[in-house]
């Protein structure tokens, strides 16, 4: 058994190297820290975690709505409530995300090798907007109907409408409940891993610079 383990843990093993890299870049005491710098004491730091919390509620309510089907949120009071929970969770998600973004901007959170973390955050913001947009198109109410008619011109004018047809409920609904949420979730996990791997950025040095 020991001999077999030694063979499988040779430096030539891809698995062994991957484990070494993970151990080096993201050890458990970085992923789940029990200590943090004393200056992490502002409410600004809360905006990140409450954004994640709102996303969890968006996904949970969305999974229930998806399971029950598109008619349910119009025809039953429970469905209507879940639809409301989804709607308001999305609103909270965006409020917290924007506050988090502005907070990180004024903290110059991209310093000391964190530029990619910032850039991924901006991509999350963009993909989230697209996800919410397809959600508004999937509501099956008057708002979604007119948004589709109105927004088609922007999509068509930019050539996007040839592939992304906002008048096609099936396409918008499929993107909204499957591909785009997977994209947002993957990017958020990546963003969190990058934050945990680097740790919280230090305060701006009065004499220093804020370059990456």
């Amino acid at each position: 058994m020991d001999a077999a383990r030694k063979i499988s843990e040779q430096p030539a093993s891809w698995t062994f190297r991957a484990r070494q890299a993970i151990d080096r870049q993201l050890p458990m005491d970085h992923l789940l820290p029990t200590r943090q710098p004393y200056y992490v004491g502002s409410w600004v730091y809360v905006f990140g975690v409450v954004t994640i919390a709102a996303l969890v509620w968006v996904v949970v309510s969305g999974v229930v709505l998806t399971f029950m089907g598109p008619q349910w949120w119009h025809d039953s009071s429970v469905g209507r409530f879940l639809n409301s929970l989804h709607f308001w969770s999305v609103q909270l998600f965006f409020i917290f995300m924007v506050l988090h973004l502005w907070g990180q901007y004024f903290m110059a959170g991209w310093r000391h090798g964190r530029a990619a973390t910032w850039a991924i955050g901006v991509v999350i913001f963009g993909v989230s907007i697209l996800t919410a947009f397809t959600g508004y198109l999937s509501q099956q109410n008057f708002d979604s109907q007119f948004i589709a008619v109105n927004a088609k011109d922007a999509m068509n004018g930019a050539g996007i409408g040839a592939f992304f047809n906002v008048l096609n409920f099936g396409q918008m609904y499929g993107l909204h409940i499957m591909l785009l949420p997977i994209g947002v979730t993957f990017l958020v996990v990546l963003h969190i891993v990058m934050v945990r791997a680097r740790g919280v950025v230090k305060p701006i040095d009065p004499e220093g610079v804020v370059q990456p």
């Binding site: 820290p33 502002s42 409450v50 969890v56 209507r80 709607f87 109907q145 068509n156």
Partner: protein, 327 residues
């Protein structure tokens, strides 16, 4: 100070560390946000204004419905002259050599006369000899004759009267149009056209493109939208029906539609109201890329150092007492 490439241990060397419970913070955040979301949902509910149907349109404003349908036959509606991806009747939006609307071609072909009027009537022709004769006359007529009929009928619709949901126009030479339009109106008022515009030769369908384009060509849908402040010049893309918040995060995108050069006929640097959609999408793409690249852009990346908001956020760090004890 250690920067890029440093391990956390090196990066935080000399910094006073305090106890922290990440899992507890996450659980409390989940609970707090959940309670807030449930409370707001229970108190305020969510928007669910019923969508407009073609039947409702045909019943509420039969003259607008018939005028729109006649326009689809004449090729004078927005969709008829749209260009790609629906047809080639317009060159579409372009900014100099940038013309993506042309590049990708007619991927969602819509012939407004056939899709919105002729084909639905052909499917409904059974049991109506007059309609069959009328459709036959329309098909056999040349384009000049059709144009004369649609011009005359469109002009007459300005003086149309409505009685019991039926549209009557002054006498004139309209060819088969009165019988075609009265049948189409009747089908629409019973809800039949809502279904006929979804027919695709297969049982299942989820694509509402023809029905929404047809409704968008009329003035009834936009009239309803105006009441809810959903039109483009009302910042409509970020609004919602009722008092509910819409996609407020689209405020910057929506703002460009309210200001020059995107509201101007003459415009600036080739950008104007006729290619506003393309110009605004390009502009927002560039701004989004710039936001992602802020760490690399001088001045933008320096503003946080100049604006002392960070001193409020890290006031514990900047207090003389903390610096002494941390050192």
């Amino acid at each position: 100070m250690k920067a890029m490439g440093a391990t956390q241990e090196e990066y935080y060397r000399g910094v006073r560390m305090v106890p922290y419970d990440l899992i507890k913070e996450l659980v409390l955040a989940l609970a707090g946000v959940g309670i807030l979301a449930v409370a707001v949902s229970a108190i305020l509910s969510s928007p669910d204004v019923a969508p407009v149907t073609i039947a409702a349109w045909a019943q509420a404003d039969p003259v607008d419905f018939v005028t729109t349908a006649t326009g689809e036959l004449a090729g004078s509606t927005t969709t008829a002259g749209y260009g790609n991806p629906y047809n080639t009747n317009s060159s579409g939006q372009a900014w100099g050599p940038i013309a993506p609307q042309q590049w990708f071609g007619t991927r969602i072909p819509i012939d407004t006369a056939n899709t919105f009027v002729i084909e639905p009537l052909q499917r409904a022709v059974t049991g109506s000899p007059d309609l069959g004769t009328g459709l036959d006359a329309w098909q056999k007529a040349n384009s000049d004759q059709r144009g004369k009929w649609t011009d005359a009928y469109t002009g007459a619709l300005a003086n149309a009267t409505v009685k019991d949901g039926k549209v009557t126009v002054p006498d004139g030479d309209y060819g088969p149009l009165p019988v075609m339009m009265s049948n189409l109106l009747g089908i629409a008022q019973t809800g039949g056209l809502d279904g006929l515009l979804m027919v695709n030769g297969r049982f299942y369908q989820t694509d509402y493109t023809p029905a929404l384009l047809f409704m968008g060509d009329g003035s009834y849908l936009s009239g309803q939208a105006e009441q809810w402040n959903l039109l483009g010049d009302q910042w409509g893309m970020m609004n919602e029906t009722g008092r509910y918040p819409g996609q407020t995060w689209l405020w910057l995108y929506t703002m460009w539609y309210q200001v020059p050069p995107f509201t101007s006929d003459t415009g600036f640097f080739g950008l104007n109201s006729s290619n506003a959609d393309l110009g605004i999408i390009i502009l927002m793409t560039l701004l989004t890329v710039a936001l992602a690249l802020v760490p690399l852009i001088p001045i933008l990346r320096d503003i946080p150092r100049w604006v002392p908001i960070h001193r409020l956020i890290w006031r514990r760090y900047y207090s003389p007492h903390a610096r002494r004890t941390a050192g």
